[in-house]
Every structure is written in structure tokens, then in C-alpha cells.
Amino acid sequence: MKFNRRAFLGTTVGALAAPMIVRAAGHGGKPRVVVVGGGAGGATAARYIAKDSAGEIDVTLIEPTRAYYTCFFSNLYIGGFRDMDSLGHSYGNLAATYGINVLHDWATGVDRDAKTVMTAGGYNLPYDRLILSPGIDFVDGAVAGWDVSAANAMPHAYKAGSQTELLRAQIDAMPQGGVFAMVAPPNPYRCPPGPYERVSMVAHRLKETNPTAKILIADPKESFSKQGLFEEGWNNHYAGMIERIGPDFGGADVEVDPVAMTVSIDGDVNNVDVCNVIPAMKAGRIAEIAGVTDGNWAPVNAADLSSRMDENVHVLGDAAAQGDMPKSGFSANSQAKVCANAVRGALTGSTVFPARFANTCWSLIETNDGVKVGATYEATEEKIAKVDGFVSATGESAAVREATYQESVGWYDGITADMFS
């Protein structure tokens, strides 16, 4: 463990009241990288730039929360396979071991001409390279009758933490034989198998405590990730419990009433006890504020995740429109390492190696019934393009499925170590 001045700054700067400009002189003239968002993309990028540049680059990570709860594996909390504490991670090691200036604050503005980031706390942080990894926000008006003010009555639980705890508490409070409804999102969205793993985990929970309960999914998509695997698993483990209404039967024509607790699908009104609304998504708001979005997402160059609008700004993870990679924590982590290598090369002249990307998404369907899908990707002129891939097969043995689940537990420890250790 090594402490330096910036590490201490990270722990005290939030307490200062007056706005201030952090000046280059205070940083010994080192190149400066500001990272916005401390998730799988941002934490990984900050860690790799600081670690591999060994003090040559000044790294500031802006992240409002002091403890990060991973969205990946949060469905397993709903199923009762993980407790919330096991999903929480602190930024202490990034500050202490790598000297990253961790600033718990909101980024509220970006001046791309002056190359500065404004924060809610009143700071104005200069950068040579800016990395935005803000995750997702929801599209206003995407589900008729729902907005974020209704997120208590009808949680999205698509950013992990209190929303996830709320949803699980509501499931546990359902009356016997009650109805859990999910309004599934349209493509593209964070974690393509996520809604369907969640349905599996809700079914697992209900099967134990409320076996006559029903699950109703309104889905605007014709098909979804790992569909054959999920449907096989639902038939095997939760027969008769889950009903999915696709677009052919009005799954895209949905209106909710968070006061009356109803979900209307193609005009049919359903009284429900819990309603998990996962609206259409867009890049985290700071990407839009920075002016690097086109439509809902931020287009980037595949080779280094640099914005198509500004070569000094990079966008990682869910917020980026990069091509073929799914929006997942694994993808963001993979993109972050390519971006970190490129940023370091641009600022210090270190060797820039060719971009290469990979993703694997594991999902749990029932106890020891794990499945996975994965692919490798390369950078082309137009996009991040898929090279090769695989998906678990239907009809696999119980031993294979258990090994896949055990592997996913190992992956969780691996990726969180790669972000925070």
C-alpha cells in the first residue's frame, strides 16, 4: 500500500465548501485523465491507467456513491443466492494503492473547448482526456403511466442497491396466489439476459414461499437473449407459473397505473401485486450533457472507444454505441482495458497494442442451473465487430449446469478484483 498526496485529497476534497479550480501546477505538469462513473467501465479504466502508468498520469475518478453495488449478480440477491453486502465494493483501494483521486460527487457539466468537467460540488476539473462511463438512464415516457417518480410503487431495480432491495421486499409481501408483472425493455438495453434471469429468480423465490403466484411479462421484443435456455428452464422448474406476452399479442402496447397497480396490455387491464417496470434506456445523462450522443447513445470509434464527436473524450460500456457488443459489465470491463491502453499511449507514448474485446454473460435459472453466452470481438473502421461466439446448449447435464454456475461465481470475484483490488 502506498499513500500519496492525491490519495489523501480524495478523502478530504468533498468536505471543502468553496468552488475551486484544480490547477495543473499542483499536479507537477502530469497529463490528467478524468473518469466519470465508477462502474465496470470507469473503475477498470481508472485502475488500469493509474496502475500501468505508475504515477505518470494523474487520474481522477468522479463517482457519487461511496459503495458500489454491482448490477451484475443483483438478480441473485432477489433469488436469495447472495446478500446485498456481497455485492458492495469500496473505492478505498483505488485511492490507496494506485493514487487515484476518488471524488464522490456528481459530474454536472463538460466544457469540451476548455477541457474541463464541472461537478455538483462546485469543482471544475481540467482534463487532457475525459472518459465517460455513466451507465444508463431511462427514456422519458417510454412506458405510458410510468416515470421515475413512480419508481417506488413500480421499481425498475435496474441500477443495483435500494431499488433491488425494494423489489425483493415487494415480492416477499405479495399475497398468496398474487401476480408479479414485468414490463420488459426494448433493445438495446443493459444486460440482455437480465430481465429473464430476474424472472427466473423471482420464480425461484415464489416457488418456495408462494407457489400459486403467477408471473406476467409484457415484452416488446420478438425474441430475447438465451430464449431457448430460459424457456427450457422455466418449463423444467417453474411449469405453469410464467406467462410472456410478446409483441404479436400486444406486449409492446403497455400502460401502467402505479396508483391502481394495474398493467394494461393491448387494452386488457391486469390487476397486479408487484410491477417491475424496466423502461427503454439511453446513455447516462452526462454523455448527453457533454454533447457526445447521437440519439440515445454515444457513438465511438472501435479502436480506442474515443467519441466520434471529440477525440479527447472516450465513452465506455452501456452508454456507448460501439457495434456488436452487448451492454454488460464484462463488455465495459473489456472496453476499459483497450481504452486505458490507448489513452496511456496518447499521453505518455507507451506502446499501444491492437484492440481486442470479449464478453461472457452467465445467468442463473434455478439453483445450480447456470447457463452462459459469450463472444470475441475486434475493432473495424465501422464498429466493434463480432468474431466468434458460443452459447450453452439446451439439454445439458446437471453437472455441466452446476459447473457453469460455479464458474459464474468465480467470474464475479475475478471481475470485481479487476475493477477494485
Partner: protein, 234 residues
């Protein structure tokens, strides 16, 4: 209750089996078969050397973490500092679940859950320990068991700096610290073992779909670079 019944049956069986080995009471021949699950990492017998794991000759009564020249995990070093000695009880606990006995060991093995399996395996390993019987050592078992890599491929000297960059694709799952839980440790392997394993995935001789996919697009030089980086990682 089943355990008691099982033990009773074992005791009856032991009365019949006059050739049972001392101490552990296991069947070394069956243990030799079970040991095939270990040979990917451990050599034992005449000429055995450290590979991914340390060689296992004379393991009984050996103090843990003391094999000269082998780089132990910090977890094993800690256990050794705390005085762990390999005897029947500690080996039994370790091969039942390595990480229960030694946190953060790099031994990525789910463990033998059946007592009979552990007894048989330990009876086999016992034949490679001098005390109390000085049993002749047999040929080593581990080297390149499931695959052969061309000597010129094994001879490629990898660039550890490139390997460090490429390792980003590994460390999304495999921990750089060498800790392992559900996904094996890949740190501090001899380069020949690393290269051999990766080529086995690349050509499909080892079955794991993620590893096959990752290995298939690595060139011989890239595999050598990864091997060089992970061998020397601190």
C-alpha cells in the same frame, strides 16, 4: 446416519480385505486412478519436479510451503508460517476442499467429497513417502498428458509486456493475485505448462467453450507472451 452405516460396512469390509494398507486404510490402486485428476498440475514418482503445483514425493510429514524453488500462493505461505504440516488429517482436509483449509490457495480443485476417495488417494500418495515404508518411486506422471505441442512452438520466447496487455482478457475472470474461486488460478505456471494448456484449448482437445473461444484467436506468439507474463507475475 448414513455415514455410520457406511463406516460399519467399511469395518466389515476391512475384516475381509486382508491386504488393506496401514494408516489410511485406502486402496492405493483405486487411488492411482483417482490421481489422474491431479496429474494436470502435480508430478509424483521418480524424477518428479514442480509443475503448476509442487511435486508430491514425500508429502507425508512435509511442512507445508517448503518445496525449494516453488512459488507458493500468499495463502499457502501464511498457512506454512502458521505451522501447517502435511499429515493424514491435514491432507484429508485439504483434498476435501482446498480453500477451506488454506484460503486463497492457487490449488483450483473442487475437492474429493467422498471419504473413500480421499482414503484411496492418500493411500496412493503414501506409496511415494518414505515413512514408514521406503517404497521405490515410479516414473513421473504429469508431463504433457493430454496433448503435445511442437518443440518450436514451446521454444518461442514471449514478450511479457505484450503479455501484460493481453492478460486483460484473462483477468476479467482469472484473478491476477492468483486467488481462485470457481475459476482456476493461472499465475506462476511454468511456461511450458501454460503454452501446452492454451494450445490444447486452441485445437479443441480441452473442452471448455469460453477457453476454446479465447485461445482460438491467440497466435503462437501471443500465447507465449501470456505465458511469459503470467509466469513472472508477482
Amino acid at each position: 446416519m448414513r455415514g455410520h452405516l457406511f463406516q460399519t460396512l467399511l469395518a466389515i469390509a476391512a475384516l475381509w480385505a486382508t491386504a488393506a494398507t496401514p494408516d489410511a486404510g485406502g486402496d492405493p490402486e483405486r487411488g492411482a486412478t483417482l490421481y489422474r485428476q491431479c496429474v494436470g498440475c502435480h508430478e509424483v514418482g521418480l524424477g518428479a519436479v514442480d509443475r503448476i503445483g509442487p511435486q508430491l514425493n514425500g508429502i507425508f510429514d512435509r511442512a507445508a510451503g517448503q518445496t525449494e524453488g516453488y512459488r507458493y500462493s500468499s495463502g499457502m505461505q501464511r498457512a506454512a508460517a502458521n505451522g501447517l504440516v502435511w499429515n493424514y488429517e491435514t491432507l484429508d482436509a485439504f483434498i476435501e476442499d482446498p480453500r477451506t483449509l488454506v484460503s486463497q490457495t492457487r490449488m483450483s480443485f473442487r475437492g474429493f467429497k467422498e471419504q473413500q476417495d480421499r482414503d484411496d488417494l492418500l493411500a496412493y500418495l503414501r506409496t511415494f513417502s518414505a515413512n514408514p515404508q521406503n517404497i521405490p518411486e515410479s516414473a513421473p506422471t504429469a508431463a504433457a498428458i493430454d496433448h503435445a505441442v511442437a518443440p518450436e512452438v514451446l521454444a518461442i520466447v514471449g514478450d511479457p509486456a505484450y503479455g501484460e496487455y493481453l492478460s486483460g482478457e484473462c483477468t476479467s475472470c482469472h484473478q491476477a493475485s492468483g486467488s481462485a474461486s470457481g475459476i482456476p488460478s493461472i499465475t506462476n505456471w511454468p511456461t511450458d505448462d501454460f503454452v501446452t494448456a492454451m494450445h490444447a484449448y486452441k485445437v479443441g482437445k480441452r473442452p471448455h467453450p469460453v477457453m476454446q473461444m479465447m485461445a482460438q484467436r491467440l497466435s503462437n506468439e501471443e500465447i507465449a507472451a501470456l505465458a511469459a507474463y503470467f509466469e513472472g507475475i508477482e
